[in-house]
């Protein structure tokens, strides 16, 4: 049964990542990202809860940091270069689902730094 859980969770996480990618594909700039923040946040929220349960703690952390940025955006807070960091993050998320023990430490530190610079 635990294997069934891992299988289902892996499929769901990949679907959520694909969902974010699809939304980001429609974004040409930060304003587009702001407009899609609520939709993207639904996906980061799901990954945040599920990833640590399949031993992808770093992916859970990255989702949690992005989730936090998106919630700030939804409260009309802004920052520069957010679309770029989201695009990089989604690529890193995909790699972490393909390669075991893929190191997300660098991107997590970068996103954490950006998160603290999101301002009103």
């Amino acid at each position: 049964m635990y294997e069934d859980f891992i299988k289902a969770a892996t499929i769901e996480i990949n679907e959520e990542i694909a969902g974010i990618q699809s939304l980001l594909n429609c974004c040409k700039n930060n304003l587009d990202l702001y407009a899609n923040a609520e939709k993207i946040q639904k996906h980061t929220h799901k990954i945040k809860g599920l990833a640590p349960m399949v031993k992808k703690d770093d992916l859970g952390l990255l989702s949690s940091l992005l989730d936090s940025i998106l919630k700030k955006i939804m409260k009309n807070k802004k920052s520069t270069d957010l679309l770029e960091i989201f695009s990089i993050s989604i690529d890193e998320m995909k790699k972490s689902m393909i390669f075991n023990n893929y190191d997300l430490d660098k991107i997590n530190k970068r996103v954490l730094q950006i998160s603290s610079n999101v301002y009103l």
Binding site: D4, A8, K46, K48, G49, M53
Partner: protein, 136 residues
């Protein structure tokens, strides 16, 4: 709820085997919750994949307990709690959520949910909270 009592090495044991409904849009979460609950002898009577379905199943099945995700399609957890509690004020509902929005969680508790479990959750914590709420 079926209460089963027996002696085990001179210890009097009471097992409350409850009928439990799960409301979560994640099939993975439903699979693992079902496994955890069944391990403890409970009976999972239904699985709602969104807010509307969870309300319909609750009214049909009248379970002893509802484990409810906060963020679901069609109706979110808070709306589900309000609707179920308005129809069945005695309902026992435990929230399962990845949200860190304490204000929102408190709204849900004020609306009738009895406890909350954070995602990611451990088997031990789920069983501890379920057992505590069933004993109320």
């Amino acid at each position: 709820m079926f209460i089963y009592e027996y002696f085990y090495y001179d210890i009097f044991v009471t097992i409350r085997m409850a009928n439990i409904l799960i409301g979560d849009d994640s099939s993975a979460i439903r699979i693992i919750l079902k496994e955890i609950l069944m391990m403890d002898g409970h009976n999972v009577v239904g699985e709602g994949k969104d807010g509307d379905e969870t309300i319909v199943l609750y009214c049909e099945l009248r379970p002893d307990l509802l484990l409810l995700d906060l963020t679901m399609p069609k109706k979110d957890g808070l709306a589900v709690i309000r609707e179920i509690i308005s129809k069945h004020p005695e309902a026992k509902i435990i929230l399962i959520t990845a949200s860190d929005d304490q204000e929102y969680i408190q709204h849900c508790l004020d609306s009738g949910a009895l406890s909350s479990i954070s995602k990611p959750f451990s088997f031990k914590n789920v069983l501890k909270v379920v057992s505590k709420i069933l004993a109320k």
